[in-house]
């Protein structure tokens, strides 16, 4: 476990953060960083996942690897879509179609039925659109750190259910967001809309939370309640707390509300799980 923690918890996020810093210093942004953010996060998740399990025969044996594959599909489609589309409607169409397409590939226990996969795809597409809308409004440090906290929930739940192979990739994506948020904090600026998380990043993060929770729930043999998995899947949408009518006009208060919204949803799912399982703390049992 130590090597994975060092590699995906520290090394990859550092590389990710350094790349982001270099881009910010050189300012060579012919394309917005947001176009690649989703691809980068999806790649981190994918690399981390395939280092845990062999991609060979994943369609029949290690079927959980459909999850990182679907995320990668969404990341690439939305990344390319971000480059060539500027209108909001076009981006929503691209995100929804890519998410539904990606989810249709997922063939994990409990989701063999195409109709159920389609419903999961539609639900994930709704989450990704809602996240894109809220990220579009305020793409700043508080947004990135909130999303970092939000992704901790499915990762911890997967770990508590005994599915370490799923917990590590989601945790790696969360660590990357954490590092990028620190870089963003250190280089304060009023960045344009397409910088940082952006369109593809929002879609990929929403998919990681929703599909990661769905995958964890599918393989779960412990007694983690469905409510906990549901809260974990919608944790990134806690950003909407900062958009409440009385809050959104005050930037500082809105930033704290965003962080609090994600933390409340993520912490609720973990607390429910710990309470039900009777565990005192997340543990990796080897």
């Amino acid at each position: 476990m130590e090597m994975q923690i060092l590699l995906f918890g520290i090394a990859l996020p550092v590389i990710f953060g350094v790349a982001f810093s270099v881009w910010r210093v050189t300012r060579s942004r012919e394309f917005g960083f947001g176009s690649f953010f989703g691809v980068a996060i999806a790649s981190v998740l994918f690399i981390s996942a395939i280092s845990e399990d062999s991609l060979q025969n994943f369609t029949t044996l290690n079927r959980w690897l459909w999850f990182p594959c679907s995320i990668l599909i969404c990341g690439f489609i939305t990344g390319i879509g971000d480059l060539f589309s500027r209108s909001f409607g076009a981006r929503v169409f691209i995100s929804c179609s890519s998410v539904i397409l990606g989810v249709l590939f997922i063939n994990i226990p409990g989701w063999e039925n195409v109709t159920s996969r389609l419903l999961l795809g539609v639900a994930t597409a709704v989450c990704s659109t809602l996240l894109f809308v809220v990220v579009r409004r305020r793409n700043c440090f508080s947004t990135i750190i909130s999303l970092c906290f939000a992704l901790i929930a499915p990762s911890v739940l997967a770990m508590l259910s005994g599915f370490a192979k799923l917990a590590i990739p989601i945790g790696a994506a969360s660590c990357c967001l954490g590092f990028v948020s620190l870089v963003r904090l250190a280089t304060q600026s009023n960045a344009p809309l397409n910088e940082c998380v952006g369109f593809s990043g929002a879609v990929v993060i929403a998919c990681i939370a929703a599909l990661g929770a769905a995958t964890g729930w599918s393989y779960d043999t412990s007694d983690i309640p469905v409510a906990a998995w549901l809260l974990a899947s919608i944790a990134p949408l806690g950003l909407w707390l900062g958009e409440l009518p009385t809050i959104h006009s005050r930037p500082t208060l809105s930033a704290w509300a965003r962080i609090l919204g994600c933390v409340i949803l993520a912490a609720s799912s973990i607390v429910i799980t710990v309470f039900v399982l009777g565990s005192s703390a997340p543990q990796i049992v080897e």
């Binding site: 476990m1 130590e2 090597m3 399990d53 062999s54 025969n57 029949t60 044996l61 290690n62 079927r63 959980w64 994990i108 226990p109 409990g110 259910s161 005994g162 599915f163 370490a164 192979k165 799923l166 599918s218 393989y219 043999t221 412990s222 565990s279 543990q283 049992v285 080897e286």
Partner: protein
Amino acid sequence: MFLPVTPVLTLAATLIIMLAANSQQNSNAPSTQTPPVVAPTPNASPTQTIAKQTSSAATAWKIDDTHSMGLFRVQHFGAGMFWGRFDGVTGTISTSGTPMETLALNVVIDTNSVSSANKDLDSHLRSPDFFSVKEFPEMSFVSTSSKKLEGNTWSVNGNLTMHGVTKPITVNMEMTGQSESARGNKIGFEAVFTIDRSEFGMTYGIEKNAIGKSVRIIVALEATSS
């Protein structure tokens, strides 16, 4: 001497009917599970006796899941040996020959029955990190051939399916006992063999040497003749 014809004929007819009924009853009676002991006759040669003994039909046995189990042992962090068990062991055994010569097995283990006496550890063992019970609810061993070794042991070749991967393996099986009781005829076997779990796509913890690659498996079977 005058014999009354009617009573004699009646008695004779009754005797014939009784004999016929007895004969019919014997032919309908189920065959006993224990093959009849063939006593060598003074005229019979030893070869003829063996030929008679080994020609008996195969006996089918049903594995008693209450008294059968699978145990596994794996090294933890290169130090101690960790033990786990499976309780849901079902299937059939077929034996033939007297004394027993060939052995055929079809053993199915419910992977969800894995137990380590630790709730957290059990969840981990059931997850895709190890047995992935949602995806692969059963593992099985189906024999393809067997060879009698010395004493009460057999070398059994067969296919082990675990974690969705099927591999041919050879298992040495020992007959631990056979008995007749009021609960039926019973037979017991024990198999001890070692597998490389990475060959079955179960690689978690191997790279870090947290959990050993080599797994020793002990399967204890008790079966009742059907």
